[in-house]
Amino acid sequence: MTHSSLDPAAARDARPESFPHAATGALANQQVRANIRHATTTIRRKRAGVVAEVPDWELLRSAGSAIKDETLASLDAVLIELEASVQAAGGTVHWARDAAEANEIVVGLVQAEGADEVVKVKSLATDEIRLNEALEGAGIRPIETDLAELIVQLAGERPSHLLVPAIHKNRVEIRDLFRDRFGLPDLSDDPAELAEAARLHLREAFLRARVAVSGANFAAADTGTICVVESEGNGRMCTTLPDVLITVMGIEKAIPRFRDLEVFLQLLPRSSTGERMNPYTSLWTGVREGDGPQTFHLVLLDAGRTRVLADPAGRPALRCIRCSACINVCPVYRQTGGHAYHSPYAGPIGAILAPQLAGETGAVASLPFASSLCGACYDVCPVLIDIPSILVHERGKAVARERSGIEGRSLKMLGKAFATRAGYERAQRLGRQLQRPIARDGWLTHFPPGPLGAWGRSRDLPALPAQTFREWWESRDDRA
C-alpha cells in the first residue's frame, strides 16, 4: 500500500537502528529485560527512600534548576572564568569543537608523555566521542577502571545505562566473563568475589599508570575546582596516582561557584544510586605540589552542545547532571534497555539530548517518539527538566523537517475534519461506513496494514457503535 521511500517518517522508522526496530530486537532478550526490571525496581525504591528523608527536596530541585539555567544563560562568561581559574591553579585548558578535535587533543597529550596506556575513569563524554577507539587507533591502550565499564569493555559491548553501564548483565554472566578474561576458572558469581577479581586485576594498572583520563561531574568557575562523584575508588586512583591527568568535560558541566556544590552534592547521590552520599567525591583545583598529578589538562567539549543551547525550548536538556533517575523510572526503558537507543544517553534524557546533540539526524532522530509521555521522568528529575514537553517539541521539529508522509497527511486531514461540526460528523459517518467489511458483533475482525495493523497485532478494537453520543443526545432532545 505505502512504500516507505515515499514516506520519510516511515523510512526513518524503518531503519534497523531506529528505535522501533532496535526496541523490537531488544524486547526479544528476556534475560536482559529481567535484569533491568530487577535493577530498576531496586533503585527506584532506594531513591524514593532517601529523597523522602530530605525536607527541602523541592527547594533543592528549584535551586539546582536555577543554577543550571543561570550558567547556560551566560555560558561564555562562565567558561572564560573557569579557564582563568584552572590556569591560575596550574592547569592547562583546551577547547574542542567536536569529537574529532577532542580525540586529537587527548591522543596528542598522551603521546607527548610517551605513554602507551592510560587508565580511565568512567566518562560519558569520552563514550560519546569514542575516545577509546581513537586511543587504540594510535596504539594507546585505554584501561577502563569502573567495574561496569570494565565488564562492558571485556565483553566487547557498549554501555546500556548511563550510571550502571552493565545493568543488562547479571552476576552469572559477569562471572563467566571474568573466568574467561582473567583466567579464573573457579570464580563464583558472588558479587564480593567478582569485585575482588576486578580489584586485583586493576590494582596493578593503577600503581603503574602515568596518565589518566577522566570526565567531570561539575567544574566550579570561581575556584577552578573539578568535581568527580564515584563509588569504587577508581576515580580517586586515576585522579591521584598518575603524573598526568586529562579531564574531558562537556561545556554544560560548568557551574558558577564552588558553593553551588552544596545543592548538587545533595541532588546527585540521592537521585542516582539512592544513597545519602556516594562513597568518594574528589575535588581538585589545577595541580598541587607534592600531592597528585603535577600536570593537569582540562579539555572543554562542545560536540553539539551549542546546538542544544541554541534552541530555547530544548536548552533545558543541558541542565542534566547525569543522575539517571529518569532512566530508572521510565516504563519504556524498563522494557527495552539502553542499547535500543543507540547512544550513550538512553531513556528519557537520551530521547531529548541525543537527537539535539546530533542535529536530529541518524537513528537518534527516532528517539523523541520513543515515549508514551507518561511523565514519570519529570517527577524525578532533580533539576526539573520538563522532559515530556521537550519530547513534544522535538517531535514538532522532526515533523516540520520531514516532508509530510502518510502520518502527516492523515493527521492534517483529521485536523481539517475536526475544524467544523459538519466535517467532524461526516468523518464519524464515514468511519462507520468504511468499517462495515471488517466489523462484526461490535468488534473489528480484520486490521488492515498501517496503524490499525500495528494495533491489531496484540489488541482487539471495538467497532464504531451504530449511534454516536451526539446522535443519542440529539434524539434525547427530540424526545424531551
Binding site: 527541602d56 555560558l75 566550579a220 577508581n234 552534592l265
Partner: protein
C-alpha cells in the same frame, strides 16, 4: 584560522541570541541544621555506621588509634609527617610519608590521618591535606584508613560542609569527601563493599 576557543565562544554567544533572562538561584533550601552538638555527633556516628564503617567515640583519641590498629592486626602504618604526636601509637611501625611511591604505599597495611571537616547528615569525612591529613594517596592506597575526626569539626548539613571547605578550595587544596568504605553497585545493584579505595574505614570521633 579560528581556534577552538574562539569558535566555541562564538557559537555559545550566537546560541544565546534569544537573550535568556538572568537567573538568580533561590537559596531558600536549608543552609544549616538545627540539632544541638550532642545530636549532631550522634547523627554522624549513626550515619557512618550505616556505611559499614567502624565508628568509635573517644575522649582519648590516641588510645583509640592504638586500639584500632591493634584490632586490625596491622604492623606498618603510613602517617603524614605532621601528624600530632599524641595520635602516634607505639607498637606499630609508623612510616612518615615524605613522598612514598605508589608501590611503597601499597606495601603499607594502613594509614592514620585526621580530617578537615565532617558532615553528620551524610556520614561524610572531608580531607583537604591540612595538618595531620597528608597527601591524597596516603588515605587512598593502603587498605585500612583510620581517621580521627575532631567532634567540633562535625557540621550537620551538606551546605555547612561545603562552606567549611570553600577556603581550602580557594587555596587550591585538593579535597576528598569520604562516605564509607569503597563500594560498587554494579553487580545487580547489590552494594558490595571494597573495590579500590580502602576496604576498611575506622572513624574515631575525638570529643
Amino acid at each position: 584560522m579560528t581556534t577552538g576557543r574562539e569558535a566555541i565562544l562564538a557559537r555559545v554567544r550566537a546560541s544565546l541570541a534569544d537573550d535568556p533572562p538572568h537567573v538568580v538561584p533561590p537559596r531558600n533550601y536549608r543552609l544549616r541544621g538545627e540539632r544541638d552538638r550532642a545530636a549532631v555527633i550522634e547523627l554522624f556516628v549513626e550515619r557512618v555506621r550505616d556505611y559499614e564503617a567502624t565508628v568509635v567515640v573517644a575522649d582519648d583519641p590516641g588510645a583509640a588509634v592504638a586500639s584500632a590498629l591493634e584490632a586490625a592486626g596491622v604492623r606498618r602504618v603510613g602517617i603524614a609527617p605532621d601528624l600530632d604526636r599524641r595520635l602516634r601509637p607505639s607498637g606499630v611501625e609508623l612510616i612518615e610519608d615524605h613522598g612514598l611511591g605508589s608501590r611503597d604505599l601499597d606495601a603499607l597495611d594502613g594509614a592514620v590521618t585526621t580530617c578537615a571537616s565532617a558532615c553528620a547528615e551524610t556520614g561524610t569525612i572531608a580531607i583537604d591535606g591540612g595538618p595531620g591529613q597528608g597527601r591524597r594517596a596516603l588515605s587512598l592506597v593502603p587498605d585500612l584508613h583510620v581517621c580521627v575526626v575532631r567532634a567540633g569539626a562535625i557540621v550537620e548539613t551538606v551546605p555547612e560542609l561545603i562552606a567549611a571547605l570553600e577556603p581550602s578550595a580557594r587555596e587550591g587544596r585538593p579535597i576528598v569527601l569520604v562516605s564509607g568504605p569503597s563500594a560498587t553497585s554494579d553487580i545487580e545493584l547489590t552494594r558490595v563493599e571494597g573495590v579500590h579505595g580502602p576496604r576498611r574505614l575506622v572513624v574515631i570521633v575525638a570529643t
